[in-house]
Symmetry: C2
Subunit: 160 residues, 2 copies
DNA sequence: GCTACTCCTTAGCCTCGCTAATTACCAACG
DNA sequence: CGTTGGTAATTAGCGAGGCTAAGGAGTAGC
């Protein structure tokens, strides 16, 4: 709205460089842009013979929380069950997880990490973080502390 | 590596809750997880009759920087030219951008925002940020300041 | 034992990355 | 002047990973 500007050059109007004046109003916008941009960059760090992002996320979840059913994984990853079924199938095909019947409830399935999967998650985590770690090394201590605090805050913020 | 743990419950080994002891080594890991998780959550905020994430990002870029060639857009978005061609084609089909020949170089194409596109980018930006804004409102001033600083830092960090 | 519910899966659609190959155009050189 | 090489954009086709809708297996309750 307000939008029908016919001129194709509203440069500098939208967000410029860093939050200009309106502290709260623009924080959400600024943060959103910064987060999505960084996340895209992080995501592009994976190589071909590698876990995909969704796969890695599931593997890491299993690594931390132990065996889970597909439904639980879907909920944890904010994804629909069919999507998780496919991701789990890919992980199983690669030998990183194993699917077993649930001991009590025949409808359910338990997904658990194999030894290879546990190794993969640790190796991949280290490698994936390398790019970011190298960038963070250029910052000073205060800046790193700020980002550490931000990581904690974001964790709380997304916690629904 | 270390990995052949036969026990399926290494819970608490991987990263627990928030950076445990190693301040620099884990910052990259913690931050990566927090960023990707938040970004996924933000991305899930879009509705159907809406711009996709990639489309919105291109529109916003045009809104800020003015007309660009597909190649420039691809580089800015860290995407290969064919991917950008498709995104631009979708945007053109929806009437949000317009493609015109480059005045000097017949090989190139200039992509420019239409009035509808400019309106869409502003409306969408406001709506997409609403979820995050609501979450941020629950924080205190210090916490918001931390996130604002983090957004600026991330912007610098990804700047290649 | 039939019905209803729950969980997982299959089928089929879409977006959006990618690589490889094609087309259109510019520039430079014989 | 024509060919030859480089560059920009596109088309073709693949894979991952979202989604909804619909199907199959198992549990639970009447």
């Amino acid at each position: 709205m307000t939008g029908a500007t016919p001129t194709p050059f509203p440069a500098g109007a939208a967000h410029g460089d860093a939050a200009p004046d309106d502290p709260t109003g623009d924080l959400a916008v600024e943060l959103r842009i910064a987060l999505l941009r960084t996340a895209r960059r992080l995501r592009s760090q994976k190589s071909v013979d590698d876990l995909t992002d969704a796969q890695f996320s599931v593997l890491a979840h299993l690594h931390v929380h132990g065996p889970r059913t597909p439904g639980e994984l879907a909920e944890a990853e904010h994804v629909r069950p069919p999507s998780m079924t496919r991701t789990v199938a890919a992980l199983e095909g690669a030998g990183w997880v194993q699917r077993t019947g649930h001991p009590d409830d025949g409808r359910q399935v338990l997904v658990l990490l194999t030894a290879a999967g546990a190794a993969a998650v640790e190796e991949t985590r280290a490698r994936r973080s390398a790019w970011l770690r190298e960038r963070l090394a250029r910052l000073d201590d205060d800046e790193r502390a700020t980002l550490a605090a931000a990581a904690r805050l974001l964790r709380a913020v997304v916690q629904e």
